[in-house]
């Protein structure tokens, strides 16, 4: 006699330890197996795109900090690059190098958080997170030196950066660059050959190459699926064409590959940091830009390789002091659209780690 069973609907989030913010999933479960998942977003919606239309171009920089608050520096960078493209501003050499240094530090910090919390979702009880926070803390201390803030930096300006680095910054950064490869090896030692980690992540949550391209995924999620697409290489912005670095890519597109790609990218970022420090020129850190910027009427799309993927800003100017339209292309929201295809048929525990491996931050998804 077969027992009569029926699927249950389980609400995961918005208050749940593994939803990385206030994400909510309406999951239909058949026992432990996920039958259907319906993401519900918007719990952190602040209307940033509309708010920005009533503020000047400079006032909008702090708003971008509040998008992906684990990678504020790169959000700043993407926005100011778009404004500079719109207004045709030339940035001094030193400022370009400083921007690259900050962006790569931000990438390391963001990936540390991503990998750490991914392991936390796997059940490794805070230990990897705390080890990775040890290094993230050093990066944040460096950011605090240059701009006084530890989470929302507001450091980039149209035409450069807000202030020059203090003299104790470079020695501290050099020490960090020298130490970091050793730390990454330490994580590898703890994690890479771990039987349980391999069993939990290999082959789990495969995002196929075709699907990844079709949904316009970007960042480590796309590269883990075997597409070597990195905007730093494919469409170089700022001065990225002067640096020597590799674009790591996975093969299978499973959770393990997404984890590996992030670890590899941290190593590449350390390489870029080393080159940038060696070549850092002197001079001005900010171009002469009018207090109230009035870009000529027109539209522009500026994009960068943020830690989580292609972060783009689409700006329309009507020659006033505020943007007429301010649109953000959030990489995480677009990566998240593949969630259902990846999790259906897997168990609840897999749902959590697949979601974790996408590395989302709700500040950017909800805007």
């Amino acid at each position: 006699m077969a027992l009569k069973t029926e699927p249950i609907v389980l609400n995961i989030g918005p208050q749940h330890p593994s939803t990385h913010g206030v994400f909510r999933m309406k999951v239909t479960l058949d026992g432990e197996v996920v039958v259907d998942v319906e993401p519900v977003i918007g719990y952190l919606h602040r209307g940033i795109e509309k708010l920005a239309e009533g503020r000047t171009y400079t006032q909008n920089i702090p708003l971008t900090d509040r998008l992906d608050y684990l990678a504020s520096m790169t959000n700043n960078l993407a926005y100011v690059l778009a404004v500079e493209k719109l207004a045709g501003i030339k940035v001094p050499e030193r400022a370009e190098y400083l921007r690259v240094i900050m962006a790569e530090m931000m990438r390391i910090s963001s990936h540390l958080m991503a990998v750490g919390f991914f392991l936390n979702d796997l059940g490794a009880m805070m230990t990897p997170v705390l080890y990775m926070w040890r290094e993230r803390e050093k990066i944040i201390d460096l950011f605090e030196m240059v701009c006084g803030q530890r989470l929302t930096y507001n450091y980039m300006r149209t035409g450069g950066v807000s202030q020059d680095i203090p003299e104790e910054f470079l020695p501290a950064l050099k020490r960090f660059v020298a130490e970091m490869p050793g730390y990454i090896d330490e994580y590898d030692q703890l994690l890479a050959e771990n039987e349980i980690l391999l069993a939990r992540t290999k082959g789990v949550g495969v995002l196929s190459r075709e699907l990844a391209i079709n949904i316009a995924a970007s960042g480590p999620v796309l590269r883990a699926s075997g597409v070597e697409f990195d905007i730093r290489r494919a469409d170089p912005y700022s001065i990225y064409d002067r640096f020597d670095f590799d674009v790591p890519a996975g093969e299978a597109g499973d959770c393990y590959d997404r984890y590996r790609v992030r670890i590899q990218e941290m190593k590449q970022s350390v390489r870029i940091l080393g080159q940038a420090i060696a070549r850092l020129p002197g001079g001005e850190v900010c171009a002469e830009v009018p207090q109230l910027l009035r870009p000529p009427a027109g539209e522009v799309y500026g994009r960068i390789e943020a830690p989580k993927g292609e972060l783009g800003f689409y700006l329309v100017s009507d020659n006033s002091i505020a943007p007429y339209r301010f649109h953000i292309r959030p990489p995480e929201l677009i990566n998240l659209t593949a969630l259902k295809d990846m999790v259906v048929g897997w168990k609840v525990a897999d749902l959590i780690i697949i979601f974790g491996s996408l590395d989302v931050c709700l500040g950017e998804i909800d805007r």
């Binding site: 479960l29 771990n194 069993a199 939990r200 168990k347 525990a349």
Partner: protein, 369 residues
């Protein structure tokens, strides 16, 4: 004869018969309860401090020397919390569940010998009693999951039943290996038989029992029923106040009970040179608990099907082979060479573990069990 029986005989010389029975029983209960609760407090502190060290932070260090009073503060906080019962939950089952979880764990300590004679009841079926009693708390966990009327708790409860039933088998089979060598089920007799600690004589049995015990006490990497990153807190998600404290006590009581049993079965109980017996026993408990905390702070969690596959496809066959190997040794190996089985069993354990790690993988990807 246990110390309590000595006390009874001594009292019987002066007091009426009933008092000579009641007083030793009360003394025994108070001492054992005191031992369990004190040790639970110590273990909570010990685990927090250890986790702090493993996670490059300090751990609690403010309240008292080295933060030793922190668990007391936690206990006080938990006691003062409001007791919440879900309005659609089953009130009686919800109320009863913590008791059903906690009481069997306390009962285990009745047969744990702290040192020679210091045991509440030296049952001649001691280890059998432990196995029987400890599986009762599964019912309590299931009651908690069902009575809470919460889907997370229900998933945890269903996982519990599967997990506990599966891991009971390898645990019992590895105990049987010990029992075969000793020829008695009494805990005291098992300790006294260990001129060489059984961890050396039966390394494979120890590993199987240890992993099974970790799974039984729901510790990482087998902590699926309270997997905080998936089903938040599992079966005790709807509990607060004193009822939650009972689960908390139960969890650490379980860990303490299994540490005691491992120390008794495999590490020679209270036996050891120089130090007094009870100190040796405590040192062994702490050493075992250290390994448990170490695993907790290092390893990720298994998935449900991998957990079951590990019990049925790896631990159970190895436990059966181990049992037959031990039986053959007891039959045919000469008793005059006590170190011969040590060498033989280490060889068997090594071969089997290597073989299984080749034959059997936890299985990444989609594995249906």
């Amino acid at each position: 004869m246990t110390l309590l029986e000595h006390l009874r005989l001594w009292l019987a010389m002066t007091l009426p018969g009933w008092a000579a029975y009641v007083i030793p029983a009360l003394v025994g209960i108070v001492v054992m309860l005191g031992f369990v609760l004190t040790m639970v407090i110590v273990l909570i502190w010990y685990e927090r401090r250890l986790l702090g060290r493993f996670q490059i932070r300090l751990g609690p260090n403010r309240l008292g020397p080295e933060g030793i009073f922190q668990p007391l503060a936690t206990a006080l906080k938990v006691l003062l919390k409001e007791d919440i019962v879900p309005s659609k939950g089953d009130r009686i089952v919800h109320w009863l569940a913590p008791v059903v979880v906690f009481v069997p764990i306390l009962l285990i300590f009745a047969v744990v010998p702290l040192w020679q004679g210091a045991v509440l009841a030296d049952l001649n079926v001691g280890i059998f009693y432990v196995v029987a009693i400890s599986s009762v708390s599964v019912v309590g966990v299931y009651m908690a999951g069902w009575g809470s009327n919460n889907k997370y708790a229900l998933i945890a409860a269903l996982r519990t039943v599967a997990q506990m039933v599966s891991y009971e088998l390898p645990v019992v089979l590895s105990i049987l290996g010990v029992v075969l060598m000793v020829g008695s089920l009494s805990m005291t007799a098992i300790v006294e038989a260990q001129s060489i600690p059984f961890i050396l004589v039966q390394p494979l049995g120890f590993i199987i029992f240890f992993l099974g015990a970790v799974a039984e006490m729901n510790r990482c990497p087998f902590d699926l029923l309270e997997a905080d990153s998936e089903i938040v807190a599992g079966y005790h998600i709807e509990y607060s106040g004193m009822k939650f404290a009972m689960f908390y006590l139960g969890e650490y009581g379980h860990a303490l009970a299994y540490s005691c049993i491992i120390a008794t079965l495999f590490l020679g109980g209270w036996q050891g040179p120089l130090l007094p017996p009870v100190v040796w026993f405590l040192v062994k408990i702490m050493a075992i608990f250290f390994i448990i905390v170490w695993m907790r702070s290092t390893l990720p969690r298994l998935r449900v099907d991998q957990l079951m596959a590990f019990a049925w496809k790896a631990l159970l066959p190895m436990a059966i082979i181990n049992l037959f190997a031990v039986a053959a040794e007891v039959l045919w190996l000469p008793q005059t060479l006590p170190w011969l089985p040590v060498a033989v069993n280490f060889a068997i354990a090594g071969v089997l573990i290597v073989l299984w790690s080749r034959l059997f993988s936890l299985g990444g990807g989609r594995v249906e069990v």
